[in-house]
Amino acid sequence: MIDNISYKKPLLETPFHSKTSELCYSNEWYRWGGYKIVKEYTQTELEYTAMRNTAGVLDITPMYKYSVKGKDAKNFINKLITRDVNNISSNQIVYGLWCNENGFVVDDGTIFCFDNENFRICCAEKNLIWFEDSAIGFDVNIEDITKSIGALAFQGPLSCKILKLLEAKNIENLQPFYFDNFIINKQEVMISRTGFSGDLGYEIWCNPSQAHDVYDALFSFNNDYKVLPCGMNSLEMVRIEAGFIQPNADFIPSEQALRPNRMKTPLELGMSWIVNLEKDFFTGKAALLKQKSTGVESKLVGLDIEGDKPAHGAILYNESKKDIGIVTGAMWSPTLKANIAIGYVNKDYMKIGSKVYAEIYHPEELEYRKIWAECKVVKKQFFNNPRKNATPAFV
């Protein structure tokens, strides 16, 4: 793909751009991975509701996609990530994260297995160099195929129903964290049952030349079931409800962190379930073993906060008004009718049920009202509807 660089047009457009720009009535855009991406199409509240009520379509093309091919592909991935993929099967997907030698998270992502010698890693940050350096000694070839694949997230309770109406064969039996090829609107696409919304949803991967047809297809039944294009603002809402971590929001990737103490280990992120310390070797294992025995100094937890003013960027305190943490993501959840947040608390307050206090600054017509709100430490996964994993999925 020839890149005609011009200083007048610093940003790239995704294959879906002509469609998304037409639909972006608010004209709220931002830069993601060098692309122009919509923050809000119409109103964030409506977009969020679509993802919890009908379905929403998000352009996630800027996600970095790397192909990992070769005899040692599987062994390489096993050394890279903290989970064990030895028993992974074709068409299966694994959510994993990879760390540096000190156990600090480099990034997280989904790993797609085509076969033992063919994988694809999808992640939010650039990782080509980390992968290539990690792959030294393995018979494997890493390639950045980001630009050659258009990607859409199609999330919501009706997502499966609509795909079925589009004649995606047997889509309802696609299990969570599996993918396969389907035909929708005469286009052959790859669909995976993955997503960032914490609800029933899919990600659709296609060739850029198919972009318009695939995009249009998803809105085919809008007369009966209103599907909305959703911007990144609404995605931020659903992911907080789902309790998913976000690089550069909840932690700084170790390859990017300027300040050493902004890097976090999976244990500090509250993701010890993803670290398989029985596995023989992966980068960071020794450090994580050590941290497991000494314990973490702070941990990312969920917070259920009193009142209804979201605790954006709030500092967390204990009863003695001592500084013991900070909020990294907050919202008022319309679905749960709760004031929720994700944030770090010191080890003394990590236990579920612990009580901490948030100092919230709420903007009210040019003045800030300072609110002292009590918070209860809860599990990060606020929203967990059974329809998310139900197979066959709801049609």
Partner: protein, 542 residues
């Protein structure tokens, strides 16, 4: 004869001398800056050499000027304005160019043209260099502790120094791994350092330029990565590593400083070359001027480089032998030349598209580090580089005040140019030859350059020395190598702005933290003097 006694007399009106003077004047002291020329500024001057044009005919871009000094001296109030520029470029022989941009995404795409891996590596590279900048920033304003002294203030100073690395600071604390990285960075060659990140020759050459400006080191020399840091650690508006043009030329900086000095009750005596610093019983007490006058002051501060101070204006008999020898051996070798060119029109570059923001910043045509090292090899042999590294810029693309409408001023900084030419030394003919050599090379990359040159001022290290007073034309007032940095600068044991002679201080770039238009040496010296006088003032910097 002028019998007036000042509290402090400062020899040399360069930016550091003016900075010291301003701080001392603010503290209520009666100060005078004694300057040889009719104009102050030293190497930060704007001169009208060609009628209608203003040249920043020595230094040409601003970044290192400490923001706290900017505020303390109220330079904005006195007319100083810095305009950041948007990009830089290296022009290639094959008709292409490499553009570096402030716009992060555009920069990434531009680098990807040469190497996708390098474009990604650049993020980690900038993070690593930025981290080094943050680590070193507080060290710039310290008076270097004397590690050999057991005096309480030096022990405390060493403690502060160690604490900086041991404790929590702006970075939230650094560990063993980061200290390893820092030591490596301070001692490696820029080439080895860049090789760890980048594969494209062009990108490496573009990055390495900052490591060789003004030095007698090549990109392959250990210690050159530190010079890169030295050039990255400035800031414009909190944007670490950003460079900008002083509106009206670099003279605006020193003009604003002199206005600030006068506003604070200070004095400037221009057109008064100093012949000698008067010393009696190991105490300096005044200045003897070339014209026969004498000026008396309780304290004397020299803004001249350490060699000029102690080998020219202080008599040898006043100095301890070892100190004198050490000053003689101080490394201050000129390696740079400068061309200041008045242009009748905007230059058109063969390889850069019109109006591309990369053309508004620094421009180069060295395409590989090997070529840059070859330029250094020539200098070692006493020749000007056959393929010189140039740092060109056209401030008038952003600054409307330095040339008539539609016309432009181009500054060309050339590396490497020896102070001592091998076969016979510099002559007027050779100087012109050198200038032509550089201009011919520039002409190769432009479709109209040779037709629009109205005037060119060609300066070799000899001219820089003669006019500005920098020994051998070294722009840093001394090499920035480990043996002459921190508590070794300028001489081990004399790194705290004081000389062996009582009441005689140093405030120029020969002292810590070194050269470039920083103001830090001047401000640090002021702090030491105020401490000695038991005076204190409120300031952002001191």
């Amino acid at each position: 004869m002028n019998k007036q006694k000042y509290d402090v007399a400062i020899v040399g009106g360069g930016h550091n001398g003016l900075t010291t003077a301003c701080y001392l004047a603010k503290a209520g002291l009666n100060v005078v800056v004694v300057e040889r020329h009719d104009y102050v500024g030293g190497a930060a001057v704007s001169r009208e050499i060609h009628p209608g044009w203003t040249y920043s005919n020595c230094s040409y871009v601003c970044s290192l000027l400490r923001p706290e000094i900017f505020r303390d001296l109220e330079l904005a109030k006195h007319g100083l304005q810095i305009i950041p520029y948007e990009g830089s470029a290296t022009m290639l022989d094959n008709g292409d160019f490499y553009g570096s941009y402030n716009d992060h995404d555009l920069n990434y795409r531009s680098m990807s043209k040469f190497s996708a891996k390098d474009a990604e590596a650049y993020e980690r590279f900038s993070r690593d260099v930025m981290r080094q900048c943050k680590i070193i920033k507080p060290l710039l304003k310290m008076t270097p502790p004397d590690p050999t002294s057991f005096a309480p203030k030096d022990i405390m100073g060493l403690f502060e120094f160690a604490k900086h690395f041991a404790g929590k600071d702006e970075l939230g604390g650094i560990g063993e791994k980061e200290i390893h990285e820092t030591i490596r960075f301070w001692t490696m060659s820029v080439r080895d350092y860049l090789e760890e990140y980048f594969e494209s020759e062009v990108i490496k050459a573009h990055m390495a330029g900052s490591a060789i400006i003004g030095t007698a080191l090549g990109p392959y020399s250990p210690g050159s990565a530190y010079v890169l840091l030295h050039h990255y650690m400035g800031e414009v508006d909190g944007n670490v590593g950003a460079w900008g043009y002083a509106r009206g030329g670099m003279g605006s900086i020193t003009q604003a400083m002199s206005k600030s000095l006068i506003a604070n009750g200070g004095n400037i005596k221009a057109g008064s070359a100093v012949k000698n610093i008067l010393v009696k019983n190991n105490r300096s007490y005044g200045l003897a001027l070339e014209n026969g006058d004498e000026i008396y002051a309780d304290k004397i501060v020299s803004n001249l480089d350490v060699k000029r101070t102690f080998l020219k204006v202080v008599e040898k008999k006043e100095l301890p032998n070892e100190f004198y020898t050490a000053v003689k051996n101080f490394k201050i070798r000129g390696s740079s030349g400068k061309l200041n060119i008045a242009l009748d029109d905007k230059p058109i570059w063969k390889s850069i598209p019109k109006d591309d923001p990369a053309s508004t910043g620094d421009l180069h045509f060295t395409q590989s580090i090997e070529e840059m090292e070859g330029a250094y090899d020539d200098w070692k042999d006493g020749k000007w580089s056959t393929l010189p590294y140039v740092d060109m810029c056209i401030p008038t693309l952003n600054d409307p005040t330095m040339a008539p409408q539609g016309k432009h001023y181009m500054s060309v900084f050339v590396q490497y140019v020896p102070y001592n030419l091998a076969d016979g030394g510099w002559t007027e003919e050779k100087r012109i030859q050198f200038g032509d050599h550089v201009m011919k090379r520039i002409g190769n990359y432009s479709t109209n350059f040779k037709d629009i040159v109205l005037h060119a001022e060609v300066r070799t290290p000899k001219e820089l020395e003669a006019e500005v007073g920098l020994t051998e034309g070294n722009i840093f007032q001394g090499e920035l190598t480990m043996d002459q940095l921190m508590f070794n600068r300028p001489i081990p044991g004399y790194a705290q702005y004081k000389s062996p002679i009582k009441n005689l201080y140093m405030c120029g770039s020969s002292t810590h933290p070194g050269g470039g238009v920083m103001g830090a040496p001047g401000a640090n010296a002021a702090r030491v003097i105020l401490n000695d006088l038991g005076k204190k003032i409120r300031s952002h910097y001191l």
